[in-house]
C-alpha cells in the first residue's frame, strides 16, 4: 500500500480543467496541468471539498460496493448516524437497520454505539487538569489530517481517542469472533460512510496500526438499494443506540453528548482553519473543547450523502428528541460507563506531524526561494484569477520558485509579452536596411 492512500480521485475524461476545485481546496493541493486537475498526495486531507464543488463531477471518492460482501462469510454493517437523516422520520432507525440486514448483512452495529463510548471518554478527558487547552475533537479524520499537515504544533491538543467508527468496528468484530465457526479472516466489517475522509481512514488509519474496518460503502451508493427494502413495518434489528450517539451526525451533537458547556463548535473546513489559526496563536486557552467538523453542518453535510443537509438536520433533530422521550420505555438509555478495552486504549499510537509547507530541506536554499517568491509575486497581477492552474498568485509564485511553473503561465504576463513583442515587430517592420533606404536618408539630410 502506498504511503499516502487517498479516497478522493479524479476521473480524467470528465475533468474540463476549470479551476473551481483549486480555489476551494483548503490545503491548496490541486493544480491544473495539461488541462486536467492534479492532486498533490502529500497535501490532500480527503475532505471532499473538491467533490462538492466540481461542476463536471470529475472528482469522486473510491468506496467499496455491496458486491464486495461476497468475499466474506459474515458481514457486519456499521451505519454512520448521518444515514438516518437520509430517510423520513416516519421510518424509525430500527427499520433502517433492518433494511441493511435485508441487503445481505448478517449483523448491524451502529457507529452511534462507538460515539457513546467516545463521548464518555471525552467527558473524562476534559476533567484532567494536565491537558493542553483547548482540547480538540479527533472524530473528523479530515480535521485530524488538516492539523497534521498545516497545524502540526497543535497535535497534542487532539483528544487521544479513536473515532467512533473505529471503536464500533472493534466491538462489532470482537462480538462476531465469539460466534461459532467464524475466524477473523471471514468477517467483513463495512462502514456506511457519509464522507471520503473516513474511507481513507480505513486504509490509512489515524492513531492505529491497522483498522478493524474491512471497507467503506458510500451512503450515496447504498441508498438506492436501501430505499427499496426499507419499510416502517420491518423492524427486526435487535438493538439500538441512544440519542447520545445518534446526535453526533449533526454539528454540535458531539459536545451535546459529551455534556461540556465551555465549548466552541466549528464546522466547514475553511472556518475550522481560521479557528485553528487562533488556537495556534495561543488564544482560546480559556475554552475547554472545540468540536471541529470539515463539512458544513457536520457529517450530514458529507459529500457522499444524498439529502440536502438542512433537511437532514431537521430530521436528525426530530429523531433525537423522539429518542430522548422513548428512552426509558424501550431501554435505550445512554450508557454510563465504558472500559479501556471498549475504547481501544491499548492499540493507540501517536498521531505524527506531516508538515507540507517547507520549501527546501536546506534552510539557506529555502530563504533564497522565499526572496525569489516575493519578487515574483510583486510582478504578478494579484487578481487571484486562477487561470494559471494554481489557486492564487501567491501559490503560482511558490510553484515558480519550486520550478513547477513559469511566469508565462500567467495569462496577464503572457498577454503583456505578446503585446510588447507585437510593438517591437511593428517597430522593426518600419525599418529598412541602409542600401534600400537611400532616399529616406537623403531627404532627412535635406531637411536639416
Amino acid at each position: 500500500m502506498a504511503e499516502r492512500y487517498h479516497s478522493v480521485r479524479l476521473t480524467d475524461e470528465k475533468c474540463q480543467g476549470c479551476v473551481n476545485c483549486t480555489r476551494r481546496c483548503p490545503t491548496e493541493a490541486i493544480r491544473i496541468r495539461g488541462g486536467k486537475a492534479q492532486i498533490t498526495s502529500s497535501r490532500c486531507i480527503d475532505c471532499g471539498e473538491c467533490i462538492r464543488y466540481c461542476p463536471g463531477h470529475a472528482k469522486t471518492a473510491v468506496t467499496d460496493e455491496l458486491a464486495d460482501l461476497k468475499k466474506y462469510k459474515y458481514n457486519i454493517a456499521l451505519p454512520a448516524p448521518s444515514l438516518y437523516g437520509q430517510f423520513s422520520v416516519d421510518i424509525p432507525v430500527r427499520a433502517i437497520l433492518s433494511g441493511l440486514l435485508k441487503l445481505g448483512f448478517n449483523e448491524v452495529f451502529e457507529v452511534a454505539h462507538g460515539a457513546e463510548i467516545v463521548s464518555l471518554a471525552i467527558r473524562d478527558h476534559l476533567k484532567r487538569k494536565d491537558i493542553p487547552r483547548p482540547a480538540i475533537s479527533s472524530a473528523c479524520p479530515a480535521i485530524v489530517r488538516l492539523i497534521q499537515v498545516k497545524y502540526p504544533e497543535l497535535i497534542d491538543h487532539l483528544a487521544p481517542f479513536d473515532a467512533p467508527v473505529e471503536v464500533a468496528a472493534r466491538l462489532a468484530r470482537a462480538e462476531a469472533e465469539e460466534l461459532p465457526g467464524l475466524t477473523p479472516e471471514n468477517i467483513g466489517v463495512w462502514f456506511i460512510t457519509p464522507c471520503p475522509a473516513k474511507m481513507t481512514a480505513v486504509y490509512q488509519p489515524l492513531g492505529a496500526e491497522k483498522s478493524n474496518i474491512t471497507g467503506a460503502i458510500a451512503i450515496s451508493k447504498i441508498y438506492p438499494a436501501l430505499l427499496k427494502v426499507v419499510t416502517a413495518e420491518l423492524q427486526d434489528a435487535r438493538r439500538q443506540a441512544s440519542w447520545v450517539g445518534v446526535g453526533w451526525a449533526v454539528s454540535g451533537g458531539e459536545t451535546n453528548s459529551v455534556g461540556a458547556d465551555n465549548v466552541l463548535i466549528v464546522h466547514d473546513v475553511h472556518h475550522v482553519a481560521n479557528v485553528l489559526e487562533q488556537v495556534a496563536l495561543g488564544k482560546l486557552k480559556d475554552v475547554d473543547y472545540i468540536e471541529m467538523l470539515a463539512c458544513a453542518g457536520g457529517c450530514i453535510g458529507g459529500p457522499l450523502t444524498v439529502e440536502n443537509r438542512y433537511v437532514a438536520e431537521h430530521r436528525m433533530k426530530q429523531r433525537i428528541s423522539r429518542k430522548k422521550m422513548e428512552d426509558p420505555k424501550f431501554g435505550r438509555l445512554p450508557r454510563t460507563d465504558y472500559s479501556e478495552f471498549e475504547l481501544g486504549v491499548a492499540g493507540r499510537r501517536a498521531i505524527e506531524p506531516k508538515p507540507i509547507l517547507r520549501l527546501d530541506a536546506d534552510i539557506t536554499k529555502a530563504m533564497n526561494k522565499i526572496e525569489f517568491m516575493d519578487r515574483t509575486l510583486k510582478s504578478l497581477p494579484g487578481l487571484d484569477c486562477g487561470s494559471c492552474g494554481s489557486p492564487n498568485c501567491k501559490a503560482l509564485a511558490e510553484d515558480i520558485a519550486q520550478g513547477l511553473a513559469s511566469m508565462t503561465d500567467c495569462v496577464f504576463i503572457l498577454r503583456k509579452k505578446v503585446r510588447d513583442l507585437a510593438y517591437e515587430m511593428v517597430d522593426l517592420a518600419d525599418k529598412l536596411p541602409p542600401p534600400l533606404d537611400k532616399n529616406q536618408e537623403y531627404e532627412e539630410k535635406e531637411k536639416c
Partner: protein, 142 residues
C-alpha cells in the same frame, strides 16, 4: 542572500487598527513555515510576535514590527510611538493590564501579553520612555 544576512520582514502598524490586527505576525509565521522551522519553535515566535503586534495596536499611535530570520535564530523587533510603560515590573505581572474597556470587551488586553512574550522567547529586552514609546527586542533560537 547570504546566511549571515538572513531574511528581513518589516511591517508598519497603526494604533487602533483592529481590522488588520494579526496580519504581520501571520505573515512572519507563514514564512517560518516555508523555511521548515520546527513547529514548536514557530509557535513560540508566532505567539510573541502576535502579542507584541497587538500591544502596539491596543496602546500606541503607530509603530513597526520587524523579523530578522537567520538559519539558527529569529529576532523580532517592535518599536512604537505611544504612551510608554510607566511601571515595567507591574506590566510584567500576569493579569495586570492598562487596556481600556472597549479593548477588553473585544477579548484583548487580559494582561498576559508581556509575561507571555518573556516566557516564549530566549532573549527578551524592553526599553520604554513615558510619553515617547516602547522598544521590544526578542530572540528565539531555532
Amino acid at each position: 542572500m547570504t546566511p549571515e544576512q538572513g531574511l528581513t520582514l518589516e511591517f508598519a502598524l497603526t494604533g487602533a487598527d483592529f481590522n488588520s490586527a494579526g496580519e504581520a505576525s501571520s505573515k512572519i509565521k507563514r514564512t517560518l513555515q516555508l523555511l521548515g522551522i520546527r513547529p514548536d519553535i514557530i509557535r513560540r515566535i508566532a505567539i510573541s510576535a502576535y502579542e507584541a503586534e497587538m500591544n502596539v495596536i491596543i496602546h500606541a499611535y503607530r509603530g513597526s514590527i520587524r523579523a530578522d530570520i537567520h538559519p539558527n535564530r529569529t529576532e523580532v523587533t517592535v518599536a512604537d510611538e505611544g504612551p510608554g510603560i510607566p511601571d515595567i515590573e507591574l506590566a510584567m505581572k500576569e493579569g495586570y493590564s492598562t487596556a481600556p474597556d472597549y479593548v477588553r470587551e473585544m477579548g484583548f488586553g487580559a494582561g498576559m501579553g508581556l509575561p507571555n512574550m518573556a516566557r516564549c522567547t530566549d532573549k527578551f529586552d524592553i526599553k520604554t520612555e513615558a510619553g515617547v514609546g516602547t522598544q521590544l527586542s526578542m530572540t528565539i533560537y531555532h
